[in-house]
């Protein structure tokens, strides 16, 4: 083999029998029984892959599942069939279902959250008439900016989740949350948005009645807004916010119902983390916030861990030692031994991390380590391998 040719990655352990797919362990239990699993975590820890794998595991076990994702890599989006920004959940294609060995009644749908699309849909659903919704769509502020509204992403996630759950189409929804430094932002941001867009505020900007003081105050506010944005746009913005605020009052009801559901026994929150200091700090912060918010935090997934089951045994070592070696191989092996030391140090660290996560998770929680898989295989293989790790003993 030429020295610079890429080394073929190890095949993923897919040849094992189907019994390997039985749902075991604490995550297997959740995948079997919950109605919603929320995967939280910082960006870059493999949250989307974990979410898709959990959904896959449930579908293989015969459940009707939807994975709701935010920002998958292009490859994963293609694997799930959502690369073209579909307007509704998309079932996995028949050949992919076959490749993933999902059989009826098991089903796996995927959907990409698009704030604009969900906002449009909410406007249509909640406005009384077609003219009314068309009028809203033609508002310049809405056209340009509805997706840039602070908290909009999070809001639409909750809104979509609620509707999909009450539709009864799915037995389980796995939610991949938007990446954020504060893993629970997606729960808190919609509430913030809703309170900020309180309809009264916009009445204050355009008062029809009220005392001298109210009108004087609103005049100052209007003046400020006009000076800052120009008269025409200030008017359009206030109109937009006013209408949107009314819509949000309806959506707020959904939000409240959803919050209640998320605190209930059918929901489970998992924190996906990587074995780095920063991810860990975030993980612990998440856990305490989840407890404060009375959310059913179930456990940690330690992703990209260097801990492996396929240990190098003494027997392997003996066989290896018995093998004749050339001088050049010996010098290579000495360098390999140095690399092994680095690997061992990482494994030791990851084991410490896992122990600490287990300790923090407490008796009723868990921490599950998932090894880093080579990324060269197909994404479906990666999802299957990850699903097996997650739902293994």
């Amino acid at each position: 083999m030429p020295p610079d040719a890429p080394v073929q990655p190890q095949p993923l352990p897919l040849s094992q029998p189907d019994s390997q797919d039985a749902l075991r362990g604490p995550i297997g239990q959740l995948v079997q029984n919950q109605r919603i699993i929320v995967c939280c975590g910082a960006g870059g820890v493999g949250k989307t892959t974990t979410s898709a794998s959990l959904a896959l595991a449930a579908a293989r076990a015969g459940r009707r599942v939807l994975v709701l994702t935010i920002d998958p890599s292009r490859r994963l989006a293609e694997t799930l069939g959502v690369a073209q920004n579909p307007t509704a959940p998309v079932p996995l294609s028949p050949e992919r279902l076959k490749a993933a060995r999902i059989h009826p009644p098991g089903a796996l749908d995927a959907w990409l959250l698009s704030p604009r699309q969900i906002a449009d849909e909410a406007v249509r659903r909640l406005s009384g008439s077609r003219e009314q919704s068309e009028r809203f769509f033609s508002n310049r502020v809405y056209q340009q900016l509805s997706q840039m509204l602070a908290g909009m992403h999070e809001y639409t996630a909750m809104e979509a989740l609620h509707r999909l759950l009450i539709s009864g189409r799915y037995e389980l929804v796995v939610l991949d949350t938007p990446p954020s430094r504060n893993a629970l932002d997606f729960l808190e941001a919609p509430g913030r948005l809703a309170s900020l867009l309180d309809g009264r505020i916009f009445k204050a900007l355009t008062p029809k009645k009220g005392g001298l003081f109210t009108r004087a105050a609103s005049k100052i506010a209007q003046k400020g807004l006009s000076a800052a944005l120009g008269d025409e746009l200030a008017g359009e913005l206030v109109q937009f916010m006013g209408t949107f605020a009314t819509l949000l009052q309806f959506l707020n009801q959904d939000l409240k119902a959803m919050r209640a559901f998320l605190s209930g026994p059918d929901a489970a929150f998992l924190l996906v983390t990587a074995p780095t200091r920063q991810s860990l700090a975030e993980g612990f912060y998440f856990q305490s916030r989840a407890q404060e918010l009375k959310l059913p935090f179930k456990g940690f997934v330690l992703n990209r861990s260097s801990l492996r089951r396929d240990r190098w045994t003494q027997e392997d070592q003996a066989n290896f030692d018995a093998m004749p070696k050339t001088p050049i191989l010996q010098s290579g092996l000495r360098k390999l031994a140095a690399m092994a030391e680095i690997e061992a140090a990482r494994q030791k660290r990851d084991q410490q991390v896992l122990d600490e996560l287990n300790r923090r998770a407490g008796e009723r929680g868990f921490a599950k380590s998932v090894p880093e898989f080579p990324q060269q295989g197909s994404d479906m293989d990666l999802l299957i391998a990850t699903a097996r790790e997650l739902c293994g003993e």
């Binding site: 292009r74 340009q144 400020g224 700090a281 092996l333 690399m339 060269q376």
Partner: protein, 321 residues
């Protein structure tokens, strides 16, 4: 690496450091600030703040919980720091357009407007944009620039694109007036390859490289010039070609031999680096080596600081080469 290209990079006014989570973007931003300060640049290191935030990983590198608020203040030798806050920018802006300070204060006291400013579409981004513009404009008494190089650690990819796409998007709404003028001035910085550079941080791995390529495309649509790609954690390869050749069949026979994972990683990393280089063409690629965390028991902040110091030394080498 072409030295003139990199030196030109140092002469730009603003670096927007971006990249997916987990690639070490924050450490790279901090290292770049230390490095530029050693090159006698007046550096301002900044990130988008959030009033609800209590801890910033970037600030932790400099032993603080958060970067300074409002006015830039020193955080390291030759480096000032400040948070980009929507509210700060919005206040600056209102002060600049209102006919009197008193009126501006009265407007800011309006509860309705404050809430609108916090949640209104794009008003947050506008505030941040305005603060960045104010910092870019600032000069000292002698007329020289207060902040020669502003390094912004940009959060997730989506945020970067929504900020860099902001001027074009909003110019459709503001056809004249002070915001229009500000946006045009901002564009004159952000879209000028002599003044601004997007710096993408990534890793020599399949997924991060693919994502980096996608981000390059995204930046192209917003007309922010791509300055360089910094590839973090490039593994060192101690093996000679002969040793590799001798080891390869052994590791095929004994795939679990300790050290095998790392042995395999190197050629994969090189292949990914190659793929990225081909995609980038003229755009400089700066490879930063993997730095062993040799103080596993030290306080997290000290270890992070040591990593950043070490990365900044590697930048010295990359730029001097």
């Amino acid at each position: 690496m072409d030295k003139t290209t990199l030196d030109a990079l140092l002469n730009r006014r603003v670096w927007l450091v971006t990249g997916k989570g987990g690639v070490g973007r924050t450490a790279i931003s901090a290292a770049a600030a230390l490095f530029a300060a050693r090159r006698h640049k007046r550096v301002l290191l900044t990130e988008i703040g959030d009033p609800a935030e209590r801890l910033s990983p970037l600030a932790r590198v400099f032993g603080r919980d958060l970067l300074p608020e409002g006015e830039p203040a020193p955080i390291a030798e030759g480096v000032l720091g400040v948070q980009l806050l929507a509210l700060t920018g919005q206040e600056n802006y209102l002060n600049s357009v209102m006919p009197s300070k008193m009126l501006a204060r009265a407007v800011l006291a309006s509860e309705a407007l404050r809430r609108l400013a916090a949640a209104g579409p794009s008003l947050r981004e506008l505030g941040i944009f305005h603060q960045l513009l104010t910092l870019l404009r600032q000069t000292r008494c002698d007329g020289t620039l207060t902040h020669e190089l502003i390094i912004a650690d940009m959060p997730a990819t989506g945020h970067t694109l929504s900020l860099t796409a902001l001027p074009e998007r909003l110019l459709k709404l503001f056809r004249s007036g002070p915001i229009h003028d500000n946006l045009v001035e901002g564009q004159s910085y952000l879209n000028d390859p002599d003044k601004a550079a997007a710096i993408i941080a990534t890793l020599p791995e399949t997924l991060p490289v693919s994502e980096c390529m996608e981000l390059c495309e995204g930046l192209r649509t917003t007309n922010v010039p791509l300055g360089a790609v910094f590839v973090n954690r490039v593994p060192l390869d101690p093996f000679s070609p002969e040793e590799r050749q001798a080891l390869a069949p052994i590791l095929d026979a004994y795939p679990h031999l300790p050290g095998a994972t790392r042995f395999r990683r190197h050629p994969q990393s090189l292949a990914e680096l190659d793929r990225l280089k081909r995609h980038l063409g003229e755009v400089p690629l700066v490879a930063l080596p993997e730095i062993a965390d040799d103080k596993p028991d030290s306080a997290p902040f000290e270890a992070e600081r040591a990593l950043v110091e070490s990365l900044s030394r590697h930048l010295d080498n990359a730029f001097a080469a």
